[in-house]
């Protein structure tokens, strides 16, 4: 259940780095997202989720952890 970021959709806003600096960085070259920690533990994971919800390019996904209950459709 890894945190993933799609560089093609990234608009290099840096929002994710401001929200969860333990999880995301920006490349020096083009400012696009770099994932530093793909498996953050709570509460950092919560902030990664906030970064995903806010991402202006909709480039970030933070899937549900296995321990978290899944929707019936996902079982």
């Amino acid at each position: 259940m890894r945190v993933e970021a799609d560089r093609a959709r990234c608009v290099a806003s840096g929002q994710c780095v401001m929200t969860a600096p333990e999880v995301f960085d920006q490349s020096e070259e083009d400012g696009k997202v770099v994932v530093l920690d793909a498996t953050p533990a709570p509460p950092v994971r919560g902030r990664a989720r906030q970064a995903a919800a806010m991402c202006p390019g909709a480039a970030i996904s933070v899937p549900q952890e296995p321990a978290e209950p899944l929707e019936p459709a996902d079982r």
Binding site: V11, S13, G14, D25, G31, R47, Q50, A53, P56, G57
Partner: protein, 406 residues
């Protein structure tokens, strides 16, 4: 849906009762549907998007841009000298936008802003010292937070970033105020012309003696791109200074009004500023609503929004302040609740035009609110915030007095 005649459509900016609450008409329009026809301050027709989902959709959709296929026929938004109508070339919009982002992204990146934190903290502490001096000089008078912190802090930071001499501060303040007046007309244009002339002269000195600043970065890119005109360059630099003067300042003022309008809320924050500042700043960004218009776009082609078809060339104003108080997206939307998760507000927009200065604004706000309540945990307002006047005549809104005591 049949669009009503433009003349009958309500005219922006709508009346709002005070700086904390939104114009009631925004809420009424949103209840009727996500998008409505309105009249701009310039008297032209435009669509106003008030619902969260549709606001986010339009801002993230490349069919809505800032250029216009036939600019002379476009709806004017206002007679300010900035964000008042279409900008740039319709054919080259994507390329010009990519060029601008490429120049500015490294200069305003989150890691760069983090490295700037120490300097911003230093400048903030100096502002707070000034507040203490003012209070000591005249113990019976409230201190105006706007004049001593909210305004000077972002200005000093943006001037240092751009490499603009602090001694020219009064000139810059005057131009920034005048270019954003919604019915500014000729005076706004003259201020913009003076602002651009100033930036042109500054650029000339930096071409001779490059500095470590954003203007120098812009000049380096301009030197390699013949289509990057002097007008483009001076407009971009003036726009950055304008944004640095007017936007973060309003958020610090209005955020303080929200924090101080309920003593229990203030005490909770003052008990642990470092721990609460990140979520508190995001909630301040969501709930504060400076300015009465919204983000300006023009449809590049016909596009469906809600139940209406926005025709190619139509002006669209995305009322992010209204979207940020949409009960469909935020539970109890008028309540100040830093604990809400996620808090995916649209204060910086969404999509490819997301505010390039967001990391700077967030850094400044986090530092300012932390330091302010560390120094003055008992800070309070001298007046009821609902009696203060918002500058609805300005593009960026805001207040000019925040009288505080401690």
């Amino acid at each position: 849906m049949t669009a009503p005649a433009p003349t009958s459509a309500p005219r922006l900016p709508f009346d709002r009762p005070n700086p904390l609450d939104l114009a009631p008409l925004l809420g009424r329009l949103r209840e009727q549907g996500p998008i409505a026809l309105v009249t701009t301050p310039a008297g032209d027709p435009a669509w106003l998007v008030t619902a969260y989902d549709e606001a986010r959709e339009v801002l993230g959709d490349r069919r809505f841009g800032k250029a216009h296929p036939a600019p002379e026929t476009a709806s004017k938004i206002s007679s300010a000298a900035i964000q008042s109508g279409p900008t740039g070339s319709f054919e080259d919009e994507e390329r010009e936008h990519a060029r601008m982002r490429k120049v500015l992204t490294p200069a305003f990146s989150a890691p760069r802003m983090r490295r700037l934190s120490g300097r911003i903290e230093e400048l903030t502490e100096r502002c707070l010292d000034e507040m203490e001096h003012a209070r000591a000089r005249d113990p019976h008078t409230a201190v105006n937070l706007h004049d001593l912190l909210s305004f000077p802090l972002p200005v000093q930071v943006i001037c240092e970033l751009l490499g603009v001499p602090a001694s020219d501060r009064d000139l810059l303040r005057d131009w920034s105020e005048r270019i954003g007046v919604l019915d500014g007309g000729g005076d706004a244009q003259r201020a913009m012309a003076d602002f651009q002339t100033y930036m042109g002269r500054l650029a000339a000195t930096k071409r001779d003696r490059p500095g470590q600043d954003v203007v120098t970065d812009i000049l380096a890119v301009q030197a390699e791109d013949p289509s990057f005109t002097e007008d483009d360059m001076t407009r971009l630099a003036a726009g950055l200074l304008f944004a640095g003067h007017e936007t973060t300042s309003a958020r610090i003022d209005m955020g303080t009004l929200f924090l101080l309008s309920d003593p229990a809320r203030r005490d909770r924050f003052a008990a642990d500023p470092e721990g609460l500042v990140q979520s508190t700043v995001e909630e301040i960004l969501r709930i504060t609503a400076p300015g009465g218009l919204g983000l300006m776009r023009y449809a590049r082609e016909d596009a469906r929004v809600g139940a209406v078809t926005v025709a190619r060339g139509d002006a669209v104003l995305v009322a992010i302040n209204a979207a940020n108080r949409d009960g469909e997206a935020f539970a109890d939307p008028d309540a100040f609740a830093p604990e809400r998760t996620p808090n995916a507000h649209l204060a910086f927009g969404h999509g490819g035009h997301y505010c390039i200065g967001n990391a700077l604004a967030r850094t400044e706000m986090r530092i300012a609110f932390t330091a302010l309540f560390r120094r003055f945990p008992g800070l309070r307002l001298e007046v009821d915030p609902r009696t203060l006047r918002e500058h609805s005549e300005r593009l960026t809104g805001g207040v000019s007095t925040v009288p505080v005591l401690w």
